[in-house]
């Protein structure tokens, strides 16, 4: 029931306020900057498409929810593609040493590479909780709502993710 002009204003201000947050989340989650730009654009297109009334109570959490789902869909399509390639015996395109085999075009920055390695070394489910909790500062119940999981599941994934990362960090200083 929303007027076109209102809709445009709402989305434009959402882009101004939250583009960076959404982009960073996608980048940390997927490990790929180009694809993250695409996904971020899709997030705001979805917001526009389904905006029925301006002003969600917690717009940031809503956008993160869409971003997270789009990233999961991205991973799904990636793994389907990988399976297809595997079935054609094109093994050289599959998993490279430990990470999920996503094509990485990260800027050649040491600390970023280091953080990405740490993040990509934990499972997808643990990674999303770690990013949302530490980087975005969301509460556990908000993360549970975004991921559609039980609160206890979210907390245990966080604990395991942190432990795994700390082990790798600790290992570097050993």
């Amino acid at each position: 029931m929303i007027h076109q002009k209102n809709r445009q204003d709402c989305v434009q201000s959402a882009v101004e306020m939250y583009y960076e947050d959404v982009y960073r989340f996608c980048r940390y989650y997927t490990g790929n900057s180009t694809d993250s730009c695409d996904i971020t654009q899709e997030v705001f297109l979805r917001y526009m498409k389904y905006m029925d009334s301006c002003g969600h109570k917690n717009l940031k959490a809503y956008l993160m929810m869409i971003a997270r789902n789009l990233c999961c869909d991205y991973f799904r399509r990636q793994s389907e593609q990988r399976e297809k390639l595997l079935s054609f015996d094109m093994l050289e395109d599959t998993a490279e040493g430990g990470c999920l085999g996503t094509v990485r075009t990260i800027d050649n920055c040491d600390s970023e590479l280091y953080l990405q390695e740490l993040l990509q070394s934990i499972s997808q489910e643990q990674r999303e909780v770690v990013i949302l909790r530490i980087h975005d500062g969301l509460k556990f119940h908000e993360i549970a709502k975004i991921t559609g999981c039980r609160l206890s599941t979210v907390k245990s994934r966080f604990r395991l993710g942190i432990a795994s990362i700390k082990k790798k960090i600790g290992g570097n200083y050993a």
Binding site: M1, Q4, R7, Q8, V11, Q12, V15, Y19, E20, Y23, R24, R27, Y28, S33, C37, T40, Q41, F44, L45, M48, K49, D107, C109, S111, E112, Y114, L115, L118, V130, I134, H135, I162, I165, K166, I169
Partner: protein, 253 residues
């Protein structure tokens, strides 16, 4: 308080400083949003058209009774039909009836069994309930207000006191009927709800014939009853919307 993951947080913060946002891609995102907006068709009508459509085609059986009761109540006072001393009794009965009819408007949605279908529409049962409670509330309160004004003029009584004597039966009957409607039996059987309304109105007609009720000292109880009634009503509506949200109430079985 130092958290266990402060070192990881520091890593994120360092990266956030170093990561450059591609402003060209950001502009591209803005542009695509504008293009999409322009292409989106609006097949919905204006708000007024939709409300008009709703009022035109909705089931108006209960609304007719409600309108008749409202007009009846106002005419009762205006035309000097009844002995003004008996007015207290008649006004309380009418007020109770209006309260029952307000709730019946919402209840009638459930009797038809259409709620499951309505819940799947753009304007779902929750919004329909709010819409119906709003217009039936406005109708009832307008009738009550007019009656209060006319009666206070004729009785030469303080308008606030007259208002309280009229509002309390309205609010308490609404609470009773709403409580019945929140039960399974009350929603499936129209007669149960009507009986509750009649019982409440009858109760007030008995109470109204007690002269001690109009003494100044009794005013405190009237105000307390009004406040309590409104409080209970608000809680009941809150609970009603919560169970509407859960959804089982709306389903046919």
């Amino acid at each position: 308080m130092r958290k266990k993951y402060d070192d990881i947080k520091a890593l994120f913060e360092e990266n956030d400083r170093d990561v450059i946002i591609d402003t060209a891609r950001k502009q591209e995102a803005l542009q695509s949003v504008c293009t999409k907006n322009a292409s989106m068709k609006n097949t919905a009508g204006s708000r007024w058209q939709l409300v008009k459509g709703q009022l035109l085609y909705m089931n108006k059986n209960i609304l007719c009774f409600h309108l008749a009761a409202c007009m009846g109540m106002v005419l009762l006072v205006w035309t000097n039909w009844c002995d003004i001393q008996a007015w207290e009794q008649y006004s309380m009965i009418c007020s109770g009836v209006l309260g029952a009819l307000s709730v019946l408007e919402v209840g009638s949605m459930f009797f038809s069994g259409m709620t499951e279908l309505e819940a799947s529409c753009y304007f779902n049962v929750r919004q329909l309930t709010a819409f119906q409670m709003t217009y039936s509330g406005i109708l009832s309160l307008a009738a009550l207000l007019l009656s209060t004004v006319f009666a206070s003029i004729r009785l030469e009584r303080n308008i606030l006191m007259t208002g309280i004597y009229i509002l309390v039966p309205f609010v308490t009957t609404e609470c009773v009927c709403l409580a019945v409607m929140l039960t399974e039996i009350g929603r499936r059987n129209l007669l149960v709800l009507i009986a509750a309304g009649i019982f409440s109105a009858f109760f007030w007609s008995i109470l109204a014939s007690m002269p001690r009720l109009y003494e100044a000292s009794a005013l405190v109880f009237w105000i307390a009853a009004l406040v309590a009634g409104m409080g209970i009503f608000v809680l009941q509506m809150k609970w009603f919307f919560e169970i509407l949200d859960k959804g089982e109430i709306v389903c046919a079985d």
